[in-house]
Each structure stands twice: as structure tokens, then as C-alpha cells.
């Protein structure tokens, strides 16, 4: 008996990711949206594990859940107005948005199923972290160094923008 473990895990992850994605998009409370992102991001990390990208999965949790999400939560708490606990989340363009996004999904599904993908047998990857590190030092050296410049610019810019108020 072979357990179809991959399929079970995949569908469970899909349920978690898509449902929490729906909560992110539709919840009337901004904080609920933000906390639902935890599950969406973690679900994606699960997909990366299934795709044997173990380093990337951990990076996803480290940066998205442990970093970007914290930043989002801090921003929510910093911009929360006392009188409006449910921050305005009217959906003014609801119908056009549903139509547009539905059209996008249909289009993409058509593309996904019509295209004859040149699918290969998946390689077995070991030591992904080391290999990625070597790639950074060889093939992707320029993007790697540009990344640090990018981060520097983001840091300086964001600090200038957000730091005006000072500590009264």
C-alpha cells in the first residue's frame, strides 16, 4: 500500500492557502486579513517543500512570516484609528473586480491547459543551500551585489519617509 502522501499534503495546503487567501481579500477587519496572511504564506512554504525547494521554504517563512508580516502588523497598529475599528473596506468596484479577476483566472487556466509544457522528470536536488550559495558567487553575482544596493536604497528611503514624526 502506497500512501498518496504528496496528493494529500498538496490538497490540504491548497485548502489552507486558498481559504486564508480569501480571508485576506474579503475580511472586513484589516487585522484579520493580516493574520490570515500567516497561513497563506506558510501554505506557500509548504508548496516549496513539496517542490523540493527546502531552503526557499525556510526563507519564505523567515522573510514573509517573520519579516514582512511583522512589518504589516506594525503598520496596521500604527495607522489604526480608534474610532474606526473596521477600517474601511468597502468594495466599491465589486462586480467589475469579480468579472476582471474571473476573466484573468479563466485566461490563465486556458493557457495552463492548452500549452504543451515541456515537462521533464524532476531532478533530485540535494544541498540546495550550498548550491544556491555557489550560484550567488558565480552566475548571479551581479544581481546579488545589486540586491545589497537595492536594500540600502530601500532602507534609506523608507527611513527618510517614515522617520519624520520623531519621538514626541
Amino acid at each position: 500500500m502506497q500512501i498518496p502522501a504528496e496528493a494529500i499534503v498538496f490538497y490540504a495546503l491548497t485548502a489552507i492557502t486558498v481559504l486564508s487567501g480569501l480571508v485576506v481579500v474579503t475580511s472586513r477587519k484589516l487585522v484579520h486579513s493580516a493574520f490570515a496572511l500567516v497561513f497563506a504564506f506558510s501554505g506557500l512554504a509548504g508548496y516549496y517543500v513539496l517542490l523540493s525547494a527546502d531552503f526557499l521554504a525556510a526563507a519564505q517563512v523567515l522573510i514573509y512570516v517573520g519579516g514582512i508580516l511583522i512589518l504589516i502588523l506594525f503598520a496596521v497598529m500604527l495607522t489604526h484609528r480608534i474610532e474606526s475599528l473596521d477600517i474601511r473596506s468597502e468594495t466599491l468596484q465589486l462586480l467589475p473586480a469579480i468579472a476582471g479577476c474571473g476573466a484573468i483566472v479563466v485566461l490563465m487556466l486556458l493557457a495552463v491547459y492548452r500549452t504543451p509544457w515541456a515537462v521533464k522528470e524532476p531532478q533530485v536536488l540535494t544541498q540546495t543551500a550550498q548550491s544556491i550559495g555557489s550560484l550567488f558567487m558565480t552566475d548571479y553575482l551581479l544581481p546579488f551585489e545589486v540586491a545589497s544596493v537595492h536594500l540600502l536604497i530601500a532602507l534609506v528611503g523608507a527611513v527618510i519617509i517614515a522617520g519624520k514624526r520623531g519621538g514626541q
Binding site: 504528496e6 519579516g67 514582512i68 532602507l155
Partner: protein, 101 residues
């Protein structure tokens, strides 16, 4: 058996959800959440193609760069949101239109 198609479908759905948030939400932070979903959908595609089509680690390296961009973008965008909030006492992106002639 789970194959490339499954991941592409999930990614399409996530992308649409993110787009939906970007279109319908008026709140700067909520729009950012939509953008993050879109970026994540793109990342999933990178990794899925890397596994099933290209082989090797190229897709993963790209995904790492996308994560870096997403982090930097979130930092700057939220800084703008906070600055706007200080200035206008609101993070409704439609109300921030004082540059309009």
C-alpha cells in the same frame, strides 16, 4: 500524482485573489497584502517551472530575489502609508489626491 498543472492553477487563483484585493481595497495596507499575494503567486510559478521544466536551481534563485524585492517594497510602501497617515489622518488611497490639479 501532483504535477506542474496543479501548481499553476493554485498560482493563478492566488494571483486573481491578489488582483481582487488590489482593485477593491481602498486601504493602503490591504493593497499591499494583495501585492504580496500576487508576488507569491509569481514565486510559486518560478519554483514549479524550475522543478518540472527547466530543472536546476534557477527558479529558486529568482524566487529569492523576488522575496528580497517584496521585502524592500513592503518596507518602502508601508513607510509611505505611515507618512500619509500622519499627514492626512487616513490611509484611504483615494483620499490622498492633493497633488491633483
Amino acid at each position: 500524482m501532483i504535477g506542474l498543472h496543479h501548481y499553476l492553477v493554485v498560482s493563478a487563483v492566488l494571483f486573481a485573489l491578489g488582483m481582487f484585493a488590489i482593485i477593491t481595497r481602498k486601504n493602503g495596507v490591504a493593497i499591499l497584502m494583495g501585492i504580496e499575494l500576487v508576488l507569491n503567486a509569481a514565486n510559486l510559478n518560478f519554483v514549479a517551472f524550475s522543478r518540472y521544466v527547466w530543472g536546476g536551481l534557477t527558479g529558486q534563485v529568482f524566487a529569492i530575489f523576488v522575496i528580497m524585492l517584496a521585502a524592500a517594497e513592503a518596507a518602502v510602501m508601508l513607510a509611505i502609508v505611515i507618512a500619509v497617515y500622519d499627514r492626512f489622518q487616513s490611509i484611504d488611497v483615494d483620499r490622498v489626491d492633493s497633488l491633483k490639479g
